[in-house]
């Protein structure tokens, strides 16, 4: 009976955690539209999540785009379809790899930093201090970060898509002998508005999930250094899983359109 009891406890614990995160998310959304608003914190979150993530997003996208071009060329050459490199790089980056890789990089960079920062604030009583200073931690800490991530990650995804396509372009025209003008023309002609819309929508959802998980686990951190470490690890794991699960659902939704 022990393994079954253990399994039951694990499943119930998981469902309870999902419920708590969902309620936290709803609470965060409800606070977005209720004053007071902390503009300075929002601007700071925009800078940290958006601007300062550009290098890592750019590098991830350019290498992925380049590698994708090589793989498609190698695979396509097996049935004389090398010419589809521009189209497949474009659709692969925009619809799938761009949003997912940017989302995962944001989970690694932003979720971890948010969770560690808020968890440290909790264990050092800074969250309690905020409350005694008549400042709601949800409004001051969570809302600016979640709102900033939801707004700025789609932009990062857009930039990542462009840089990824450029990576493919650089490899294809530099080493695979593609004509630069034809490559750009094929890319532009092949992409549809829905591809871009799905990419940006995924970015918004992934940004929301990444920041929410960081805030939730930071706020619910245990005590001491171990508590902070565990909160950070759980936040990144949770954000990555949530991003991949949301990607599957959203891909299905956009695929059916």
């Amino acid at each position: 009976m022990k393994p079954i009891a253990l399994l039951g406890r694990t499943v119930l614990g998981l469902l309870a955690a999902i419920g708590r995160i969902a309620l936290y998310g709803i609470d965060a959304i409800s606070h977005v539209v209720r004053p007071p608003f902390y503009g300075r914190e929002f601007a700071s979150a925009l800078l940290n999540i958006g601007w300062l993530s550009l290098p890592v997003v750019g590098l991830t996208a350019v290498f992925t785009g380049g590698a994708l071009a090589l793989q498609i060329y190698a695979g396509g050459s097996r049935f004389n379809a090398e010419a589809v490199v521009p189209q497949i790089v474009a659709v692969g980056m925009v619809r799938e790899l761009g949003p997912v890789l940017v989302g995962l990089m944001i989970a690694a960079r932003v979720t971890s930093s948010i969770a560690a920062e808020i968890a440290t604030m909790k264990v050092t009583e800074q969250i309690d201090a905020l409350v005694t200073l008549s400042t709601h931690p949800m409004k001051y800490l969570t809302v600016p970060r979640v709102l900033a991530a939801t707004l700025v990650v789609p932009l990062l995804v857009g930039v990542g898509d462009i840089i990824g396509i450029f990576g493919g372009y650089a490899v294809a025209t530099g080493t695979l002998g593609f004509n630069p003008a034809a490559y750009i023309r094929n890319t532009v002609n092949f992409l549809e508005p829905l591809d871009v819309i799905s990419s940006l929508t995924k970015g918004a959802v992934f940004g929301f999930a990444a920041a929410l998980m960081g805030c939730f686990h930071g706020m619910n951190s245990g005590r001491g250094a171990m508590g902070v470490g565990r909160a950070t690890k759980t936040a990144v794991e949770g954000a990555a899983i949530l991003i991949l699960a949301a990607n599957f659902v959203l891909t299905g939704v956009f695929f059916s359109l």
Partner: protein, 249 residues
């Protein structure tokens, strides 16, 4: 001014407060003493609403604190110095001190808030050049002083001090104790301090309350502390291993 009636609080099977009763008259300085883990900080956090008691009622000025509708106004009456100062790492010292004055119902123009912060820093013995530093650049004693300046910045009616001298050397402890006493007298504030430092108790207290086993074992004026006849208080004051308080907890 603050009346705590039959406060109970448990964390799982750990019953921290088991019917705490305490009365803190207006304008007095009450020091709660007791061993580590006896629920002193929890008692203060219950008053502020940071922790919700399982049972019992807390009255502030005769009104049930749980019935407060304007939480912002309620909290604006309090200042608190946390054990580790709890300064916000990302903000410079002056913005920590003026935090309440830069937002919310007590918001002032930035320059005015900064001037008040510098004045409060001066009041706790820190020079204006500290104002633009980050908390991480300060020593433990300086951080405690900044925390004290933040606690008094909005001139609250009630100030809580949680272990104000923990981790400080005896000289800095003396400085902090003197500052607390001066500020409380000067502002006419009601103060509640948590400590197990007997030097602080004698320097700060008008009245003391001995907390053990989740209830107040003895309360009275600090002058009566040495002749209380209460075995818990006597053991604690004299730091004896033998007595009703178990040394192994």
């Amino acid at each position: 001014m603050i009346k705590m009636e039959n406060i109970h609080k448990s964390f799982g099977s750990n019953h921290v407060l088991r019917g705490l009763n305490l009365d803190v008259p207006k304008g007095t300085s009450m020091v709660i003493i007791g061993g580590s883990g006896t629920g002193k900080s929890i008692a203060i956090k219950c008053v502020l609403g940071l922790v919700t008691q399982d049972e019992g009622t807390i009255y502030v000025d005769g009104k049930d604190a749980a019935d407060t509708t304007d939480r912002d106004a309620f909290l604006a009456r309090f200042g608190m110095l946390f054990q580790g100062a709890a300064l916000f790492d990302s903000l410079p010292v002056w913005q920590n001190v003026a935090f309440r004055l830069l937002r919310g119902s007590l918001k002032r123009p930035k320059e005015e808030a900064r001037d008040i912060a510098i004045e409060k820093l001066r009041r706790v013995g820190l020079k204006p050049d500290v104002a633009d530093r980050l908390p991480a650049e300060l020593s433990g004693g300086m951080q405690k002083r900044v925390g004290l300046a933040r606690a008094i910045a909005a001139e609250p009616e009630i100030i809580f001090f949680d272990e104000p001298t923990t981790g400080l050397d005896p000289i800095m402890s003396g400085v902090i104790n003197d500052l607390i006493r001066e500020i409380v007298v000067e502002m006419g504030a009601t103060a509640m301090t948590i400590t197990h430092d007997m030097t602080s108790v004698r320097a700060i207290a008008d009245n003391i309350a001995m907390l053990h086993d989740g209830v107040i074992q003895w309360t009275g004026p600090v002058a009566d502390m040495d002749s209380s006849g209460n075995p818990y208080l006597e053991q604690f004051v004299h730091g004896r291993a033998e007595g009703p308080i178990e040394s192994v907890r």
